[in-house]
């Protein structure tokens, strides 16, 4: 029996993530929504989701005493960050007048801005909400059976920006190109919501369940 822990730190709606994982996981997998550090580190795989603001997320992570647990999970087993669970892996976010994050990767989460426009000068709404194309920038087992340029469901106002370009495995365009998926070793994280991205999203979750953590 393999287990997948979905880290629950009270941020947003995690039911969708659990339901989607249950949908794709076979009988040999147990999905557990937990905020218990021990349970998280007993799991074979860890999913780190998150919604809401960076400041609240970081506060919640500390209130639940999960900071070390998240770092340890991200250094030791297949680890999937989703949405805020990607952004807080970075050093710093511009959100909430500046929030220090986990610092697992160098860089910062930046705001699209109140006057975000495309190259034709058309106003772009913030949050970036809806189905956008995900361009695969390097090969990765989690892209297995997913077309390059496939649409995923996004909802966010901040985006991940790192000087470490080797982290980038996926990009998306909204006014400009931004990093929407990163990977290194046993970690894969993405800005969009695979649990809400219909078939392509379910495929990605299924790939994660089968992934051995080698990039």
């Amino acid at each position: 029996m393999q287990s997948i822990a979905v880290i629950d730190y009270g941020m947003g709606n995690l039911r969708s993530v659990v339901k989607a994982l249950e949908h794709v996981a076979g009988k040999n997998h147990r999905i557990e929504l937990t905020s218990d550090p021990v349970r998280v580190l007993q799991a074979n795989r860890v999913v780190f989701p998150g919604q809401g603001a960076a400041g609240d997320c970081m506060r919640a992570i500390d209130e639940y005493g999960l900071r070390e647990t998240i770092i340890e999970a991200a250094t030791s087993r297949p680890f999937l960050g989703i949405c805020m669970g990607m952004q807080v892996l970075i050093e710093h976010s511009e959100e909430n007048r500046g929030t220090d994050c986990l610092g697992f990767y160098p860089g910062r989460a930046r705001y699209f801005g109140d006057n975000h426009r495309d190259s034709d000068g058309e106003k772009l709404k913030v949050p970036h909400m809806g189905w956008n194309q995900l361009y695969q920038r390097s090969r990765h087992p989690l892209w297995n059976k997913i077309d390059d340029g496939e649409r995923f469901y996004f909802v966010h106002s901040y985006y991940f920006e790192s000087d470490d370009k080797n982290l980038i495995v996926g990009e998306c365009e909204y006014g400009y190109s931004f990093t929407c998926a990163i990977a290194r070793d046993n970690v894969f994280a993405l800005q969009c919501h695979p649990e809400k991205s219909a078939e392509a999203g379910l495929q990605l979750l299924s790939n994660f369940i089968e992934w051995d953590g080698q990039s």
Binding site: N13, G52, E122, K125, P127, G130, W131, E173, G201
Partner: protein
Amino acid sequence: MPLAKRIIPCLDVDNGRVVKGVKFVEIRDAGDPVENARRYNQEGADELTFLDITASSDNRETMAPVVEAVAAEVFIPLTVGGGIREMADIRRMLNAGADKVSINTAAIINPEFVKQAADKFGSQCIVVAVDAKKVSVDGEADRWEIFTHGGRKSTGIDAIDWVTKMDQFGAGEILLTSMDRDGTKTGFDNVLTRRVSEAVRVPVIASGGVGNLQHLGDGILEGKADAVLAASIFHFGEFRISEAKAYLQAHDIEVRF
């Protein structure tokens, strides 16, 4: 513009059953929410909205199981509206598997509710539904006000002021219904939609009045809507979502297939 414009079918739910569902012959029970949701998902709906029209609060408890059943099988964003009055209502719907809730009357009664809800659950799951009606007469500058009770009761609140305020209060999206057009099948009020879309930072869903596919395209091109919501043209099998998408794509509108 790689971000796709969204098509959102809206399903009316009464006492746990879809009352204006998809009328497809192969479906044994047209009132089954899961069947309806699955069908729309297969056709390429970008999101689903469930509107709880259950009149009595006793029967409201029937909405959570509906959401739960749909969320276990359909993996696209789900919004629930109707009867969302307090934080506990939001929590119940999110726990059942909804991704967003739409708040209408409760926001008018207490605008702070929107702020509290956005703070607590995040703006991404708070949709503010706005029912607007034109109040200016010919010769005057266009003006719309917010109405309640299905468009019968005016609040005296200016629609543009209201959506701006809701944006500032943390609404993640505005669901805008023209009460002048709702049910008329004459198309969205695109002047209103455009004003609202230009006034706010957040996405705007146009609603009310769709009678054909051109209306959907007009809402996006003229109304500058980010998403279009329709009920009856999809319910009665008049048009499939896939046909609507093909139409929009033929008119150079970015859609997801």
